[in-house]
Symmetry: C2
Subunit: 193 residues, 2 copies
């Protein structure tokens, strides 16, 4: 039996990412779960960040941001970026930063995957500012990249060891593989009703 | 060393959800990974669905949709909903549907968590239609719900056994818990640089 539990935001587990922006010329990184995909081809992503957050200043200043995927080994540092604000603490030296094609979106060298993004839409929803961005370039640690027909991709996501966040406030690893997209459904036989 | 792999949509792994909408008075369900959170309190979610998708017709018709979280045991049925379109196949009888407070957003009884949503914003990005919704009510299978100080919540997300989708086209389970939000960062000592 289902019970009503109020208007809960139960879309979980979500990947935890570090959003990067240059604020007043210095890198700042914010831990965010309100981040995800809006399109795959072309690659469209978004961040939703509280209006008073320090990161927002830099995104508005430059029209660019980055998405950095920390590993579970970086959990303490990543969580720290969600506890302290750039308004109070200088997060520029927490990681080694690098810049890509846009020149203004700082990225974290220690993260195996970085997405460099240009803002293509911005809007407010209640106390949140939403930045929709197109991915201009993805940077991936060489050891995780495979090349096939001239196209580079990550062969095995579990090797990236990302951090998941769950509705019960727990952080988790990715678990065992249970199937392949667009394959499992071929085994399904709709019930006769 | 980092290598450039082009504008890849590497925000992963993502929770796989079944988006529900009444199309011409009948439930339809679409498997989506382009779905996530924009706010927690209040709970704001979104779906990004290709403009020609059948589900979109129903969302525009009613201004409502649902988000349903399948379990790994439902993997074949869920993946099937991503392979076949409502334009060709009637998906109304694949699951047992129920309705909530809005009366027009069909939800899947077999899923342990259902979010009933009202559209508060809609926009297009390239070939995609994005529906931003406020969660009006969350319905959760009774056995997973705990109550504390009069507030109901899910105590342990792993019990919900959700499906993750990864950038290598693999489906995964949620793995072991490795920490708690807003706790791990307390153990972090910023490097002196």
């Amino acid at each position: 039996m289902k019970v009503k539990i109020g208007p809960a935001p139960y879309v979980y587990p979500i990947p935890m990412i570090l959003a990067g922006a240059n604020v007043h010329g210095k890198p700042n990184y914010e831990l965010l779960g309100q981040c995800g995909l809006m399109g795959v081809n072309p690659a469209i992503v978004y961040l939703s960040s509280g209006k008073d957050h320090y990161t927002n200043i830099g995104i508005l200043e430059n029209g660019t941001f980055s998405i950095n995927l920390p590993t579970t080994a970086m959990l303490a540092a990543a969580d720290y970026c969600g506890i302290v604000s750039g308004h109070q603490v200088d997060k520029a030296t927490l990681f080694e930063s690098f810049y890509g094609e846009l020149g203004s979106a700082p990225m974290i060298a220690e993260c195996p995957v970085n997405l460099e993004c240009r803002v293509i839409k911005e809007f407010s929803i209640q106390h949140r500012q939403v930045f929709v961005g197109e991915v201009v370039m993805a940077y991936v640690e060489e050891e995780f990249v495979t090349e096939e027909d001239g196209k580079r991709r990550v062969a095995d996501m579990t090797q990236l060891d990302p951090i998941l966040y769950a509705l019960d406030n727990g952080y988790h690893r990715v678990g065992e593989q249970i199937g392949q997209g667009y394959e499992e459904g071929k085994k399904f036989h709709p019930p006769a009703r």
